[in-house]
Symmetry: C2
Subunit: 184 residues, 2 copies
């Protein structure tokens, strides 16, 4: 990015990345991650990451929303790409702000459209269904995976209410570490 | 943007904007708009836009989430910038996908922290409280303003449940026009 400088564009109030050659402003906006807690009976679908960061750790099918997609379409695409799972969206389970890295996460509760069919996509080492007591709590990839799983454990298959948000222990999404013990 | 070309970066599956000189990839991601239905008694706070697009039309205090903010912080900042309103967030009222323009909108229900104090910020011509029957339904700036107001009218000051989403008439956020008649 040799051609980019940081300055405040005319009419703006914040520094932006601007190409010194052509004047293009590369706005750095927060990004939207969409994902799903895909539930089958009492079990949840999880993926072991084949890519960095956190290769080898467990996550939910989730990724960046792309231009032209609705939130639900993005979540369904990620479930297919990472877990070859054809899912039906139930509703919003949780909305998290991860301000440290400029992310907003919208996590849905979902189910399989037909039978519980899944396989490791190219970004996954393996994909599996876990009942709560079998979830690899000590090997979760990110704090928000834990938050989403805890949100699901609170409501199970019951009615979706107001979405869960960040936990009181990290209201702005600033902490790096994840607790490894199972939740109470 | 003379130096940018469109091609698929290595390891990616979609075309991106890439600077032909330095290789910088200008990812074009969906953007997050945060806003609020700020309620005072039976009335809602609205702003008449001083800027394009839709100058002179009515909207809710809302704007792009910035890096480093939580969703709630962004909504509170926008309420201050556009309406000089000091608000307390109640919870998520609605989440909309506007796929036509690559936007996700997270709309909160909020109230004034103290008394109902407000004034036109630099991006507003005027700011006012409207009871439902007084809302300028024929002069709304965007379809999603209408959707958010309708979501609020459905629940009023009652408990927030699952967030409202796009209406059945525009599930992907693709339509440009807004209906001008009051909702039934």
């Amino acid at each position: 990015m040799s051609g980019f400088v940081r300055r405040v564009p005319e009419g703006d109030s914040r520094e932006r990345l601007i190409c010194a050659d052509c004047g293009h402003i590369a706005y750095e906006n927060p990004k939207i991650v969409v994902g799903s807690v895909v539930v089958h009976g009492d079990a949840v679908l999880m993926c072991r990451r084949a890519i960095e960061p956190r290769r080898g750790f467990w996550t939910l099918p989730a990724g960046y929303l792309e231009l032209g997609e609705t939130l639900e379409e993005g979540a369904a695409r990620e479930a297919w790409e990472e877990a070859e799972a054809d899912i039906a969206i139930d509703g919003i389970l949780a909305v998290f702000s991860i301000s440290r890295i400029g992310q907003v996460q919208v996590i849905f509760r979902a189910r399989f459209v037909d039978r519980a069919s899944f396989a490791a996509g190219v970004e996954s080492l393996e994909v599996a269904l876990f009942e709560p007591e079998g979830i690899p709590w000590g090997e979760l990839a990110f704090p928000s995976v834990r938050w989403a799983l805890e949100a699901w454990r609170q409501i199970g298959g019951g009615p979706l209410g107001t979405p869960s948000g960040n936990p009181a222990s990290d209201p702005r999404g600033e902490r790096r570490g994840i607790a490894s013990e199972p939740p109470p």
